[in-house]
Amino acid sequence: MTVPGSLSRDQMAWRVARDIPGGAAVNLGIGMPELVANHVAADQEIIFHCENGILGMGPMAAPGEEDFDLVTAGKKPVTVLPGAAYFDSALSFAMIRGGHIDTAVLGAFQISRTGDLANWSTGEPGVTPAVGGAMDLGVGARRVFILSTHTTRDGTPKIVEACTYPLTGTGIVSAVYTDLAVIDMTEDGPVVREMIEGLKIDALQALSGTRLALSPDCAVLSAPDL
């Protein structure tokens, strides 16, 4: 179910990166959000936080230079930049819950019109429940950006009236970055800030499970070829 002109995963990550100001402390969730690190502007000093106890995370480790005592939340070998710090898990989550992380970029199964997030479990029987740091990041980061395709692979909307999957947190999502649009979650519900070229609000609405408002300043969502 591909809409013509929809953004690639890297283009989506690039778009989120544009909304992260220099100097911010940022946590990237496992999966597509990890791509955001590749797209921050070179002249922006952004401090990447890793839940397992790293502030100042750098690029992934080159093949042959992996150190398995230095891994990401997704357990991949990584590097640190000059200025980095190591700390224990209790301090790491004090940073998160205490509001010291400016932005978390997370994936989603569902986002409700009131900013509720479901991203840790589909509640499917037979699947082992696993939450990791998702709930702490959801409530603790000052802003939560969601990076996700607009619908599931079979076209089911991810932006919905109310989440039917088990919740991660309530009223925590600031903005949603999809392959089709950038949507701000406001007190009055979701407001479309950007849409890809040629897409009409009615078509976007048809791919969403709750009423979307159109910002009077709605702009074209575009990204370089990546």
Partner: protein, 236 residues
């Protein structure tokens, strides 16, 4: 008397662990796991254990080996579902191991609280979610918080980088993760380190876990890397 917590072998370090113990095991994924101590515990034979770890073991080493040996009654962790967590998945699906899933920050803070003499705390994490069901929720300054209780352990198995004879510890990079809190929360804290150093060999400014939280230490100069072992296992 002089204090010397050094033990000659992992076997001697884990001696005396009783059936039914709650055992904290440091590590995040494959980083910071006290694999040799866990293997010594497998050989020691303690059973009916409750294990506290961030994960539920990967591959067939360390915690996965302890699970595979049928010694674990219950796992308390935040993320038991990694791709290579094959042993636990089977045990859980077969109903042979209980699971308590705790958000990672709540897990770390419950362990810290256990070691710090705190009787409980209110956290915003998990409020209004299924993981808060059956727990007291209180509104403080307009925000909902969930009451969480401390976790205490009978034994903690820890990996660190250096120890002096008193048991002052340093760690290596992100292998630190849950270890400092777990050292505090157990009645018996057993640590494997890559290197013993003399008393005074660690600058007091650089001690991460102070000696009072440590009971036994053993030197394992070349510990197994569970991650490297996993890579080898999956190599064609």
């Amino acid at each position: 008397m002089t204090i010397d917590k050094r033990k000659p072998t992992a076997t001697e370090a884990v001696a005396g662990v009783k059936d039914g113990s709650t055992v904290m095991i440091s590590g995040f994924g494959e980083a910071g796991n006290p694999t040799e101590l866990v293997h010594a515990l497998v050989d020691q034979g303690a059973a009916d254990l409750v294990v506290v770890n961030n994960n539920a073991g990967t591959g067939h080493l360390g915690l996965a080996k302890l699970l595979e040996a049928g010694r674990v009654r219950k796992v308390i962790c935040s993320f038991p579902r990694s791709a290579k967590s094959v042993v636990f998945q089977e045990l859980y699906k077969a109903g042979k191991t209980e699971l308590e899933v705790v958000p990672q920050g709540t897990l770390a803070e419950r362990i810290r609280a256990g070691g710090a003499g705190i009787g409980g705390f209110y956290t915003p994490t998990a409020a209004a979610t299924p993981l808060a069901e059956g727990k007291e929720t209180r509104t403080i300054d307009g925000r909902d918080y969930v009451l969480e209780y401390p976790i205490h352990a009978d034994v903690a198995l820890i990996k660190a980088e250096q120890a002096d004879p008193w048991g002052n510890l340093t760690y290596n990079k992100a292998a630190r993760n849950f270890a400092p809190a777990m050292c505090m929360a157990a009645r018996l804290t057993i640590v494997q380190v890559r290197e013993f150093v003399d008393l005074g060999g660690i600058d007091p400014e650089h001690v991460v876990t102070p000696s009072v939280f440590v009971d036994r230490i053993v030197e394992i100069p070349k510990p197994i890397s569970e991650a490297a072992a996993l890579l080898e296992e999956s190599a064609p």
